[in-house]
Structure formats: C-alpha cells, structure tokens
C-alpha cells in the first residue's frame, strides 16, 4: 500500500509540474489497446473478414500509438528543444540589432547567437528533475550567468529555464499531433502490409500441392459481351 501511495504521489507531482501531451495520449492509447478490440469482437453483424481486419488494425494502431507517443515524442523533445531555444535567442539578437538596442560586435550579441545547448538543457533540467541532471562545468555556469545577465537588460526575452520548459511542452504536443495525423496510421499500414505478406507466404506451400487444371473453353461472343457489360446493347437480337 505504501508503494502504491508513493507511485500515486510521483504521478500527481509529475502531472502537476508538467503535464506533457504524451503522458495523457499514451495513457489513453493503453486504455484503447485493451478495450477497443473487445468492442470490435462484440460486433455480431460484421463478417469474419471485416472483423479480423478491423481487429488487427485497432490492435496495431493503438500499439504503435503507445510506443510512438512514449518513444518518438521523448526523442523528439529531448533533441529539438535546445536547438529551438538557441534559434529563439539568435533571432532575438538579430531583432535587437535591427532595433539598434544591441551592437553586432558586442559580447552580448555573441553570447546570444552562440548558445551552449548542453548548458541550456542542464540548466533547465537541474531544477526540474534533480536526479537526472548532470553537473555543470565552470564554462557552462558562466555561460548561463552571462545569458541571464543579458536577458535582465531586455524586457521581451524569456529566461533560459522558462523558455526551455515552455518549448519542451509545445514540442511534445506538436510531436503527438504529427504522430496522430500521419505517422501512426502510416506505420500501421506498413505493418499490415508486412503481416499480409507473411500470411500469404505461409499459405503458398498449400497452393503448390494442388494441380491446376486449365482447359480452354470455346470462345463465346455472347458470354464475352455479358462479361464486359456490353450485353445491355442487345447486339445479337437486332
């Protein structure tokens, strides 16, 4: 019971601090992975083939969704957040130069345009997840301090920690949306294709045992017209 309470405590603290999109969508995918195939199986009006296909599709889609939301989204947000934050500071520096608030040869401009991505990530994650945070090197600490000094001079620039956390949340949601719209159904289609290939290979040896009896039928114009839907023209009765 104590362990259960600890797990619940961790979950609610995590959801309260940062309710990233992949947590909710992965939880729903897990729910659906169990319950939707049950609902499909309970459909008595569909044919066996329809049910089998829908069942395979439901199961594969939710399985891929669960893995994708946890795996791909995590990889995407871990690798894209820092470069996007760096791009944000770079663009802000260019804007400030255009507004003549910052000199292009100044140290501040160079600091803003050459962000140490690893330092930014460590700085944001340090407070966020203490256990996983790596220790700062001296250079990284100095870089972050310099960055915070510059930001304090201007009102419209986000501080590194907030920027990193906000960007991570949005990237996580965008990644989930792209996965839901295109990647998950696409991967499911590919998996179904592979499954059908495997299935057809399994059924091939049975087919080779049967002898094919091909006999040529005499050509019948009336049958040909019927088959090609030209029978309606009633050519022969004229």
């Amino acid at each position: 019971m104590k362990n259960f309470n600890n797990i619940v405590d961790k979950i609610i603290t995590r959801l309260g601090t940062s309710n990233d999109s992949e947590i909710c969508t992965a939880a729903l995918a897990a729910f659906k992975l169990i319950f939707i195939p049950f609902a499909t199986m309970s459909d008595k009006k569909s044919t066996k083939e329809q049910k089998n296909y829908a069942l395979t599709r439901d199961f594969l889609t939710e399985g891929v969704a669960l893995a994708g939301y946890i795996g791909i989204t995590r990889v995407v947000k871990n690798n894209l957040t820092a470069p996007i934050c760096a791009k944000y500071y770079k663009e802000k520096a260019h804007d400030l130069v255009k507004q003549k608030k910052l000199d292009i040869n100044s140290v501040d401009y160079k600091t803003l345009t050459n962000i140490d991505k690893a330092a930014l990530k460590n700085h944001a994650m340090n407070e966020f997840l203490d256990e996983n945070a790596k220790k700062f090197t001296k250079n990284q600490t100095e870089h972050i301090e310099a960055l915070e000094n510059i930001i304090s001079k201007f009102s419209n620039i986000q501080n590194p920690k907030d920027l990193y956390i906000n960007t991570k949340k949005v990237i996580s949601h965008v990644s989930v949306c792209i996965l839901a719209l295109t990647l998950i159904p696409y991967i499911t289609n590919k998996l179904i294709y592979v499954l059908s290939k495997v299935k057809s290979q399994d059924s091939k040896p049975q087919k080779t045992n049967t002898t094919i009896n091909t006999t040529l039928k005499p050509f019948s114009m009336a049958e040909y017209m019927n088959n090609t839907r030209l029978g309606g023209l009633n050519v022969f009765n004229r």
Binding site: Q50, E91, L181
Partner: protein, 167 residues
C-alpha cells in the same frame, strides 16, 4: 522572428497544451482525419474490409470527440469531490469543500507550492482516467452498434446486393 519558432516558444501555447482536455480534443480531431484516410489507402485489404474499418474509425473518432466534449466539462467541475481519496492531500483543507465555489475559494487560500502542484496533478490524473473511460469503454460499445445501420444508409445498394446474394 519566424512563425514556427515564435509558436514553439510561446508561453501561452505552452499553458494551452498543458490541459489534458485540449490534448485529447486536438489529438482526437486529427485522428478522425488521419486514420480513416490511411485505412482507405491500405491496398492489402479488400474494399469491404477497408470500408468497414474506415467507417468504424471515422464514426468512433467523431462520436467519441462529441461525447468527450459533452461529458468532460461536467466531470472536471466535480473531480474535487474525489480529492479526499488521495492520502497525499489529507492535510489540505481543500478536500473538505462541498461545492465548486467553496473549492475554488479554499484553493486560493493554499499557499504551499508543493500542495498546489499535487492538487493540480490529482485533478489531471482524474481527468485522464475519466477520458479513458469515456473514450475507450463507453464510446466503442455504442459505435459498434451504430456502424452497421450507418453503413447501410451510406450505401444501400451494396447491402441490397449482399442480401440478394445471401438469398
């Protein structure tokens, strides 16, 4: 500043995507477009199989989004009544609230940041569980009963042919 970077780094966008209702609704609407389209594009299955699966998927996604939209807000307004089941919030006065108004007032009085985080997290957890029950347990049962009558209405000729063949 480029539009994409501006959107991705926007603090308001970050606040918006933190809400589990917004997450489920946006993901579900995209799924309602993507999944049936890809099902119809799948050439490994027969036309009948694809049609059944795509109709079921489209119906399920649209119906579940409508049901979710209708049910989640009243549920979310009342999740505070279940906060007393969390032993982590035992010392917090919020769990004694009897009405939504009283809950909001008591929530304003909470000064401990950790406790506020836990209350928010508990609400989100219950919202996720409620979404799971609505989307994965209730809606599929209704959709499996609706899919055939709707398919028959969409293509009455094909079902007639099927019945003729069976006869």
């Amino acid at each position: 500043m480029s539009l994409i970077v501006n959107f991705l780094t926007n603090p308001q966008a970050a606040d918006f995507v933190q809400n589990s209702t917004c997450q489920v609704l946006s993901e579900g609407c995209l799924k309602a477009v993507g999944r049936p389209t890809f099902t119809l594009l799948d050439k490994t299955a027969t036309k009948e199989e694809r049609k059944y699966s795509a109709t079921k998927e489209l119906l399920y996604q649209s119906f579940s989004m409508a049901a979710f939209f209708a049910l989640i807000f009243p549920i979310k307004r009342n999740t505070f009544k279940l906060l007393k089941f969390f032993p982590q919030l035992k010392n917090c006065d919020v769990i004694n609230a009897k009405t939504a108004k009283e809950y909001q007032e008591k929530l304003k009085q909470v000064t401990d940041k950790t406790m506020l985080t836990k209350i928010k997290g508990a609400n989100e957890l219950m919202s996720i569980i409620a979404s799971g029950i609505i989307l994965a347990v209730v809606t599929p049962q209704i959709v499996t009963r609706l899919v055939h009558p709707i398919m028959n209405k969409l293509s009455p000729d094909e079902t007639k042919n099927k019945l003729d063949k069976k006869a």
